[in-house]
Amino acid sequence: MNWRTPRTGGLALLAAVIALLPLALVNNYWYEVAILIGINAIVCVGLNLLIGYAGQISLGHAGFFGLGAYGSAILSVRYGWPPAAALAATTAGVALLALVVGRPILKLKGHYLAMATLGMGIIISIVIVTEDRLTGGPDGMSVPAFTLPGLTLAGERVWYWITGAALLAAVWIALNLIDSPAGRALRALHGSEVGAQVSGIDATRAKVGVFVISAVFASFAGSMTAHYSGFITPGKVSFFHSIELVTMVVFGGMASTFGAVIGAAMLTLLPQLLTILKEYEMVVFGGVMIATMIFFPRGLLPSLMLALGRKRK
């Protein structure tokens, strides 16, 4: 087994970090932060497939996250579905929606695509805020714990391990995809769309496919959040959250699965650390964003790897 490939070495490292991290999590608050990192990382790993590898921007993925969260919540609260069934139905529903809207949207390019995905996300968010009989509106709604027959999943410790396992699975799936014919097709589209097309790649199909996958990752993470935290508000569906997710991906490093995880970790931690700055928080956060992108335009992990590679030579 070659431990230097991402699929073995990288996954093993990530598993080790997840296994050992609880030693450093001194109280429930830090467990919560760790879970939040894991959930964001799952979304970012999916989003990175779309943005980093296939080169298609989305400024609306919080919409899919929100649909996952509210779908699970509404089906289990308002219609009394068992959470597992609600999760399955919601995920399938979001996949279908992404498939339907993805076709026309992904024909667009560049800033037009950015606008369309942004618009889609905002529309979802406005619907969730406005349909308050179903969603509780701006006040949000509470969600029951996730139960399986004879088993209730509750508490930070339990959810830490669930999130950790889900993240490992998400990373494994992403790494598999990237290193496969379908994944090469995505990267080829990023490299040269005509080059890919004349090689027999159906560009629309490939783009829509990865759009659906990234939407499913986001939706699943949304459903997890709903059941884990027991309460959801429209904040997680907002334009700002979409931007936050893209920033995590770009920050960690586009076209790098582990970069996406690192980006999610950094940008989830940063605001926690910056709270001590009180009213200066936004200014510093914005400044850090600008500076990082100027000095590491390719993102943290790829820039770091590049520097290490140079040193070795």
């Binding site: 995809l177 014919p181 379908a182 994944g183 090469r184 490299g191 005509v194 004349v198």
Partner: protein, 259 residues
């Protein structure tokens, strides 16, 4: 005489006021080397773009092996056996050289999403085969030394041949090359010459767009001369070489004697 492999009828493409390809008709016979020549801006690249579905024609039709393929998407035409290279390289610079060629095999691979994401065992076997065949193709076109390289670390001449290897990955029936020798030195050009001859001998139809007359005159079974998007004349190398209109429009007075 057997039916032509490709039949182009009154094909036209206009960009605003420019008739880049204008009422063009010609036929391409299977297994031969066909060249398309003409001065800069004559519409050669536009023609290849039309034939491979990169542009949709303004009017006219294209029939491939008897069926109408006008307006099909590039990937659909690729599935019917068309492959090409580009005048302005369309390499995937975000990938390794080997992966570039593996993409060329896309149509012959298991490209299902679930197979990929869950990495079913049958994928692994296919991947190994894909790697080996891609490496073989790279050696075939003469860029074997770059098998482990990243595409963005390769020199221009090697990239041009990498594109040919990628195009061959699909085992095409027809290969369209847009100025494969442009920017290459005489040795490299000679290699391209040999490569084209070998491909034609193995049964692949070659459509060659090229400015290098020595190369064109040497390998072509049939030549179409374009000028301002129209067909000026066509025929064998000897026939084209001696056509006064060609000499006039394209090669200038000192032209063909040199070939």
């Amino acid at each position: 005489m057997n039916a032509p492999q490709l039949e182009v009828t009154a094909l036209s493409k206009a960009f605003g006021g420019i008739h880049a390809v204008d009422q063009l008709s010609f036929e391409i016979e299977a297994g031969k080397v066909h060249s398309i020549i003409g001065p800069n801006g004559a519409g050669k690249t536009t023609l290849l773009n039309l034939l491979t579905g990169v542009y949709a024609p303004s009017s006219g039709s294209v029939r491939l092996e008897g069926s109408d393929v006008t307006g099909l998407e590039p990937h659909e035409l690729a599935a019917r056996g068309m492959a090409r290279t580009f005048q302005n390289l369309q390499i995937f610079f975000n990938m390794s050289a080997l992966e570039n060629v593996m993409v060329g095999r896309h149509l012959r691979e298991r490209s299902g999403w679930f197979t990929a994401m869950l990495r079913f065992p049958r994928l692994t076997a296919g991947e190994r085969e894909s790697r080996e065949e891609a490496a073989e193709l790279m050696r075939f076109v003469g860029v074997g030394e770059y098998i482990d390289a990243d595409a963005d670390a390769m020199p221009y001449g090697a990239l041009k041949r990498l594109e040919i290897a990628r195009a061959l990955g699909s085992k095409p029936k027809m290969l369209l090359l847009d100025e494969p020798a442009a920017g290459l030195n005489p040795t490299e050009t000679h290699d391209i010459d040999t490569l084209i001859t070998r491909l034609a001998r193995s049964g692949v139809t070659v459509v060659l767009v090229e400015h290098n007359m020595r190369l064109v005159m040497g390998v072509s079974d049939h030549i179409v001369v374009l000028d301002y998007g129209r067909k000026l004349c066509e025929g064998s190398a000897d026939h084209v070489r001696s056509d006064p209109r060609v000499i006039e429009a394209y090669l200038g007075s000192e032209g063909l004697a040199a070939c």
